[in-house]
């Protein structure tokens, strides 16, 4: 049974308790930040910031709106990162999430380039190439696994305004749709539930009172053409070409050795 997180932007007060709880539970160090004229900090996701609240100020029709969005791994069903990960460090958890085994990460960084939401972050030595990726594991990190211990994710646990909920994905979709309906009835005609069908279904669902792009979310997230060309076309071609080469060489060896031997035999027979 797939689980999910439902995040309701209209209930979020941007207290950032989730941000702190995430760091606390996952033993991620704090970052030194500077006052950039916004409450939003740190400025971006990082290897030690897997979750952050984004702040946006927009003024449609002259009325200023202050929007908050949760930014972290979306736990896609069709996950670009899982598709390109060469070591299997990124994989689908039985509950549907994109779980991560940091020990076997090779540091290639393919996941970061393949992610439609630009989520994975790496600590990287550019010259040596030594790197490790980090991202939200939805509290399934071995040793810090809340979910298998029947606890909800740390971010959800800490949310005081019930903007975050954790539960069965189907139920949360129904719940989210109800919220959207009530928002539409209140006049938020662009309200929508984000994540129900995107990339085969996200495991983080968003109740939005406006278009996804207003909240900085891609309207139609897709696995990139390069990912498909590389993983679904070029790699299989490579296995076929490589396999046929090895087979052909083996066959050649058997035939060539046999004919060389029979030639020798003929020579010997001629001599004797």
């Amino acid at each position: 049974m797939a689980k999910a997180i439902l995040y309701d932007t209209t209930k979020c007060t941007a207290c950032r308790a989730c941000q702190v709880a995430c760091k606390g539970w996952n033993e991620l160090s704090a970052e030194v930040t500077t006052n950039r004229g916004t409450y939003e900090n740190p400025p971006d996701l990082s290897p030690t910031t897997w979750l952050k609240i984004e702040f946006r100020e927009i003024d449609p029709g002259g009325i200023v709106r202050w929007l908050f969005t949760r930014r972290a791994c979306m736990h896609c069903t069709e996950a670009g990162c899982v598709k390109v990960c060469p070591s299997g460090a990124l994989y689908h958890h039985e509950l549907g999430f994109v779980a991560y085994d940091k020990d076997i990460c090779t540091g290639c960084g393919y996941c970061a380039d393949a992610c439609p939401f630009n989520v994975p972050r790496s600590d990287r030595n550019l010259i040596s190439g030594i790197a490790k990726m980090d991202k939200c594991t939805l509290c399934t990190t071995p040793g810090l696994d809340r979910l298998s211990n029947d606890l909800e994710p740390a971010c959800v646990k800490s949310c005081p305004s019930e903007a975050l909920q954790y539960g069965d994905r189907d139920q949360l979709i129904a719940e989210g749709k109800k919220r959207v309906e009530s928002l539409i009835n209140k006049g938020w005609t662009n309200a929508n539930l984000y994540g129900e069908n995107e990339l085969g279904g996200l495991h983080v669902l968003y109740v939005l009172d406006d278009h996804p792009t207003v909240y900085g979310l891609p309207a139609d997230p897709q696995i990139s053409a390069a990912t498909i060309a590389w993983q679904d076309v070029m790699q299989p071609i490579g296995w076929v070409v490589g396999g046929l080469t090895v087979l052909g060489l083996g066959l050649n060896y058997l035939v060539a050795r046999a004919s060389v031997n029979s030639d020798k035999e003929k020579e010997n027979a001629a001599r004797s």
Partner: protein
């Protein structure tokens, strides 16, 4: 003692072996990311460190070789792109030779036969692609756009498939194939027997022996 002719000069042989060793390392450390199930070997980036060290050797070796052997380099590059009717004849006759050992139909060849030339062409083109895309992935990892980096991996893969399969064939012909005995001598000691040269590289043999004594 049979007469010998020089096939590969010493600098060429040194470049060959430096390139071969570094390319094998590059090939193997790349292969672990290509074959599902082997990727786990690459954990903690160590294969990627070796890949970078080998890449540095792979790039620097020809940079030293080229200015010191400029004429040979120009000649060699020109040769890779010079194709003619006898190449077609060679390709038609090759299976019979490589499987059955019958070489009656093989047209007279230059210093490189068609097969060697094809491999040399693959080496040249794929090396350029591998080096350019590799350098972008190496040093542009944090600055280039994700799309650029992904297409670089894609191109790197194409060159890897071509060069990797060719490498298997190259090693097979050089080391394992029952008939290929002179090529191993050529790339280790530098010479092949005059007899072999006459039979297999007739055009080239005529050129190098014209008005010259063959060293014995």
């Amino acid at each position: 003692m049979p007469q010998e002719v020089e096939k590969y000069s010493k600098p060429t042989r040194i470049l060959h072996w430096t390139h071969l060793v570094s390319f094998c390392l590059l090939f193997l450390t790349g292969l672990v990311l290509f074959i599902p199930g082997l990727g786990i070997i690459a954990q903690d980036s160590w294969t990627r460190v070796i890949h970078r060290i080998a890449a540095a050797v792979f790039i620097i070796a020809p940079l030293i070789y080229i200015p010191m052997n400029f004429k040979a380099t120009c000649k060699g590059i020109k040769r890779a792109f010079t194709w003619g009717a006898s190449d077609l004849g060679w390709l038609k006759a090759a299976p019979e030779y490589y499987f059955r050992g019958t070489e009656a139909d093989m047209p007279p060849q230059d210093e490189m036969n068609t097969g060697q030339k094809l491999w040399w062409l693959i080496v040249l083109v794929s090396s350029v692609i591998l080096i350019i895309t590799g350098l972008i992935m190496w040093f542009g990892k944090t600055t280039a756009s994700p799309a650029t980096l992904q297409w670089m991996v894609f191109l790197h893969d194409i060159a890897f498939i071509a060069a990797g399969s060719g490498l298997l064939l190259h090693i097979y012909l050089g080391v394992i194939h029952p008939l290929m005995t002179e090529s191993w001598k050529a790339i280790t000691k530098g010479t092949i027997s005059a007899d072999y040269a006459k039979k297999h590289h007739a055009k080239w043999y005529e050129e190098v022996t014209k008005g010259k004594e063959v060293k014995s």
